[in-house]
Symmetry: C2
Subunit: 437 residues, 2 copies
């Protein structure tokens, strides 16, 4: 099976765990099969490989997520990078071209497109395989997954199938309705539209060429910024007559808010935390090094990270976005392709961060025009390259770098260092990258 | 007026703001007259000086609080240091001897003893002056303050006065009662015993010599550890016949728990925080650098510090102690006579702290046997002394110190530095102090 996972943008609704550069799909919050924590994207990837170990998985996303994807899934996964956000039709067209032109998959093969963040059981991925097999038959140009509703939700669009068969023609699409209207749809046999569908690669390539003037993947990538924003639903689905829906009756959750996310958590406490016996329905998700103590609370979520601390009634947590939009502060934590960094102290003329480099990795070779830096290696071994001079380093070594000096560190083992940035004009934008020869 | 403020031990009931080395009386949480925040001890000291600018104020406390007292009150205040905890009779005897033998106050003068942490208005201190004046008259050996009860509390002992006069003989003392019994006491005209009393210095000196074999203050100090633990109430108050009570009808609050502390706060948010409009009766006290967001909560206190994060229903917060007793971790923040330090990163073989030295101050001249250290100065100017060699330092300077090397830094201006401690056996006990010649 070929599968494209659509990995969306910054999820402020799960602040403080998600932020402008860390999306919810990368938060390690679910107990995996081996007892360690895994993220949504890791869980989904593991489930796909379990159902179909030969599946070709490609993630369609923006540049900012590439580091996190490689960190969490390794380098076997394909990534179709959107140079900028242009809604779902350009994104799916680009990913389709990537599969054909970069991965060399035959345009006759089918692909399943689905969001990266459903919280589902393995049977869901078996259903995706069935969706792909149905697309292979060529009875329809598009085969949608229709999820059997468990309640009259206002959050989803609805698909009205022509028959009650497992696979049916689509009679009609409906926008997100009110609860009353949703009840009516359901009585007519309507299914939720979870944004999952399968098609033969050549079909979307043809549609793309109809709407966009481009030669191949690279050409589409190069002119991506000039494309018009248009959704796949509007550009393709609503105009297609040869369209089928396949039923799915298994468990399916969309973890968009703290309320729904905590419902999917197997444990009430992730990270350092304790609650007394008068707490009911309380979840603690703590990424800080200090303990959280909760007493006498009901239906409250507490989450702490280097970005901030949320304490919210679970129902209320769905209204978080405008409050988080109002919080302006520097990024305090980030995963990078080479490891991660965490801001540990901020002063007017200095910033201190802790850098963790994964074994075998290095940060970019770079310089800063407006700040000096000091590194103190606190664990591991590797080498530094300072203005082209290589020096082996180990725990306890100190490296001082004046502004203008090119520098990097290469980790042999996992290597951690404290970096003190010094200057009156410290900015993440003050960085000039070079190739390391 | 001479006044002794009894400054008690670690107040875990206000965790995470108070801990083993920072007691609740030093937390800056109250809006002072100039708009900046002040602690309980600063508020009380300011109020005493307002009512009687010539008051001699002595704080009876343990060694661990001396740095905080000097930081917050300066060096004019007297401190009677208890070498160890031996209950209130030895503590009051030692402070009394301190007033006579160290400060040279005549044994004929009176002193008022009161806790360091009442939350009161200025009139309370006017009442303390009246208490002292009453003791001066010599009608009784002890004059107690009796606080007019505002409700039948189980938290306080009660004093039954002989008459309804402003000053009366004491008829009887009662232990902390049940609410029903408290109602009965109050109907008999009982007053709360707030632990405030006045006496002529010579009176307690005599009592002390009756019970303890000692020459003078220094002798009592030297043998303090050998003394029996005994309360002032048991050793003196309950055995004294010549005893009076003076009424006080003004506002008086005992801020022992988050519940009562937040009642006394003028603002709902201290530090970085915001709450949405569905929050009611919520207090945020945040000493961390990251924001707290509260949504949809009622009667909840949220407090965050480098020690941890508390989220508690206000009523429940009074049951905090056993939970905090169960939290074992290093001290993450401390005020010192020379400034303060904060732990900002902990790894198995390194600890990184941020040190702030006040202008004109220096840390102890010391060495560590089992760890190397690196300092990166991030602001200010001063000098380091490393194995007797003085070197001027400024922002950006890096100092590396091997285990066994004696070191200190002296701040000319306020000076901040990042200290990285490196070694497999890092402990606060690994410190040998030297005199700086």
């Amino acid at each position: 099976m070929n599968i494209v996972l659509l990995s969306g943008g910054s999820g402020k609704r799960l602040w403080p765990l998600s932020n402008d550069i860390r999306s919810k799909q990368f938060i390690k919050i679910f107990k995996g099969e081996d007892g360690s924590y895994e993220s949504m994207v890791q869980r989904v990837y593991r489930q796909i490989k379990k159902v179909d170990k030969d599946a070709t998985v490609t993630i369609a996303t923006s540049k900012t997520q590439v580091s996190s994807i490689h960190n969490q899934l390794g380098t076997d996964v394909g990534i179709s990078i959107e140079p900028c956000r242009r809604d779902t039709f350009p994104a799916i067209a680009l990913a389709t071209a990537y599969l054909v032109d970069v991965l060399g998959i035959s345009p006759e093969e089918s692909v399943v497109v689905c969001p990266v963040d459903p919280y589902v059981e393995d049977e869901y991925f078996t259903a995706l395989k069935a969706l792909s097999d149905q697309a292979d038959k060529g009875e329809a140009n598009l085969v949608l997954m229709g999820i059997e509703p468990t309640y009259p939700s206002e959050k989803y669009g609805y698909i009205i199938p022509a028959t009650k068969d497992n696979v049916s023609a689509v009679s009609n699409f409906k926008e997100k309705p009110s609860i009353e209207v949703a009840k009516d749809y359901i009585s007519q046999g309507a299914l939720w539209n979870g944004g999952v569908f399968a098609y033969k690669l050549k079909y979307v390539l043809e549609k793309a060429h109809e709407l966009i003037d481009f030669k191949d993947y690279q050409d589409l990538f190069d002119k991506y910024e000039t494309l018009t924003k248009i959704s796949f639903d509007y550009a393709v689905v609503e105009k297609e007559d040869k369209i089928q829906v396949m039923r799915f009756a298994g468990e399916w959750k969309d973890l968009g808010t703290w309320n729904t996310l905590t419902e999917a958590m197997e444990e009430n406490i992730v990270g350092k935390g304790q609650m007394n016996e008068t707490c009911k329905g309380v979840h603690i998700v703590n990424e800080m090094d200090v303990p959280v103590l909760a007493m006498g609370l009901t239906d409250v979520v507490i989450s702490a990270s280097p970005e901030g601390i949320l304490v919210s009634d679970k129902e209320q947590s769905s209204y978080i976005k405008p409050y988080v939009d109002g919080i302006v502060q520097r990024i305090m934590f980030a995963e990078k392709s080479w490891g991660n960094f965490k801001v540990i102290d901020v002063e007017p003329e200095s910033v201190t961060i802790k850098v963790t480099l994964n074994a075998g990795h290095s940060m970019n070779y770079h310089l800063h025009n407006h700040r000096d830096e000091v590194w103190v290696v606190i664990s591991g071994t590797g080498k530094t390259v300072i203005d082209s001079v290589e020096t082996p380093v180990k725990s306890g070594d100190v490296i001082t770098m004046k502004a203008g000096c090119k520098h990097t560190v290469v980790a042999d083992t996992e290597l951690k260092l404290i970096e003190v940035q010094l200057g009156s004009d410290i900015s993440v934008d003050d960085k000039v990258k070079y190739e390391l020869k």
